[in-house]
Amino acid sequence: MDCAQVRERISEWLDGEILPAGRAELERHLAACAACRAEGEALSAVSRTLRALPRKAAPPGIAREVRERLAREQLIGPGAPGARRRRLFLPRWMKGMGLAAAALLVVVSVGDWGGRLPPEEDAEALRSPSVELEIGRVAEPTDGEKLGIGDAQGLSLKDAPPALETAEPLPEKLDDDKIPDGVRTGSIDRLSDGPQEKDPPGSAGGKGSLPSTRSLEKAKEIQEEAWDERFEDGSFLGKKGRARAATSPERDQDDPPLGRQRTAAPIEVCFSVPDDGTLERVLALARAEAPEDKNRDLKKDGLRSLGYETEGQEQPAQREEASSLRVVERVLTADELARLLADLERIGAVPDVSWKNLASPSASSSEKKKDSSAPRTYRLVFEVTPGAGR
């Protein structure tokens, strides 16, 4: 073990976390190397200094305030604790497509949240992670789920922490069974740049089928029936997204269709997040965590390496569908985004993230000058290694 190796592992050693075999070798090195001993002493001094910081006791009243909030927010009583399982709404087809065997292209719209929620709820909503994300990889698709994965499972950590929930309960995940497939996927095509194709045979009714052609408004109507008041005004859609949905032809002019830029376009999901710096933090983390070898493999083999294309079970029409662009618009809180990224990482997603992936395709510079608070749209690409779920 040379000096570099020793110094790399010296924190483990200080913490008693190094394996016995490595420990003996490292200690032999330390006994003989004054420079490494000095390094160890310096890091040990960091530990001592931090451990000597005074502990702060909770200010009085926290327990009482928690109790009062539980009562005020009606979290005490029949059915409490409010363990309704809250899930991020992701269309069933996207769960099926995206997470074990597809590439996920996430479009992140960052910007102004004002006006989408009642003013008094804005701050709370921004702080409220609001929904628990459950993304799953399902072992084997069943009939009718050739591109689908069916129910998500297995990816949520046992005892994974819940999203922080400080505001009113957000809606349950929209029950997929209550949504006609065409409607569920309609909002996707409405925002897409791809041709407005009719439903390929057999695709509209199948679980996990790819998007068909229906209106965003229709999808919204259905969603409003199932979602609670916060979302009844369509606030789950970003302002920008609604504008884009309403003016999709204009978007075609300003924004080269992403689907045509890629030989096999991944799914594109449009998210809005508060512009509070969390996105930058998450992206920085994603970059730091991305395994280099997986990125290299994916770049080399492209989307052909992804399971859903190579299983060979889907029909040609469906394959064609898979190569066109789909967009789903969904507002995410910062915490939801963080959890999405964390869950993607957990299932082996390789975040192919860099600032160059982030573009602002839908707002011209002159528009930005006119309205500096206008939402900015960013594109964020995730690729998922097939079968890499843990």
Binding site: L53, P54, A57, L157, L164
Partner: protein
């Protein structure tokens, strides 16, 4: 790391059945360490207080889904870390100068001093400066490094528990802790505790 007991497990089970009094006891048992953890993450007393409340509310909502495969405290650490992240406050703290109260009192109202290091008349001032420098250095760390090092050094979690709390692999924990120490060493030069390290 806070001690856990059969009594606490019993309280958790009762809370899972909707017993708010049991949950209230859980809050009281865990509030001090949770608040301290959040304070060290955010560098801000007001944020720590608000977040502590939010964490407990979130825990109440989700306690029915707590399976007991991790320690209850580890679960709370995870919620708290997510809470701090979601507000972006321990990102923002790195960009501002946060005056840290140096009259920090422990649970018993006493200030926990550094380990005895001599009787210099200037020692209290030096210790105060060292604490201030330490918190500033923590604040300036990248959030993921700060989370890991606070869980390790302030809360005393082992690597496995930190991995659970942060939902990252063990190797990531090792890397983050080491990187945090290296960064802190640079930021805290001249303020580090001088005592001899064991075995080094």
């Amino acid at each position: 790391m806070p001690a856990e007991s059969a009594e606490e497990a019993s309280l958790v089970a009762r809370a899972q059945r909707g017993d708010v009094d049991a949950f209230d006891l859980l809050v009281r048992r865990n509030q001090d360490w949770l608040y301290n953890f959040l304070f060290r993450l955010t560098g801000n007393e007001a944020d720590a207080r608000d977040l502590a409340q939010d964490v407990f509310l979130s825990a109440w909502r989700a306690v029915g889904r707590f399976t007991g495969e991790s320690r209850f405290s580890t679960w709370l650490y995870a919620i708290a870390t997510n809470a701090a992240r979601s507000r972006g406050r321990h990102l923002a703290v790195a960009r501002r100068v946060t005056p840290v109260s140096l009259d920090a009192e422990g649970p018993d109202g006493a200030v926990r001093e550094f380990a005895a290091d001599g009787g210099s008349p200037s020692a209290p001032i030096e210790r105060r400066e060292a604490r201030e420098k330490a918190q500033e250095a923590l604040d300036a760390l990248e959030p993921e490094l700060r989370e890991a090092i606070v869980l390790r050094e302030i809360e005393g979690l082992d690597y496995a528990a930190i991995a659970q709390a942060l939902a990252v692999p063990l190797g990531t924990v090792k890397t983050r802790i080491h990187r945090a120490r290296l960064a802190l060493r640079e930021k805290m030069k001249g303020y580090l505790e001088p005592r001899e390290a064991k075995g080094v």
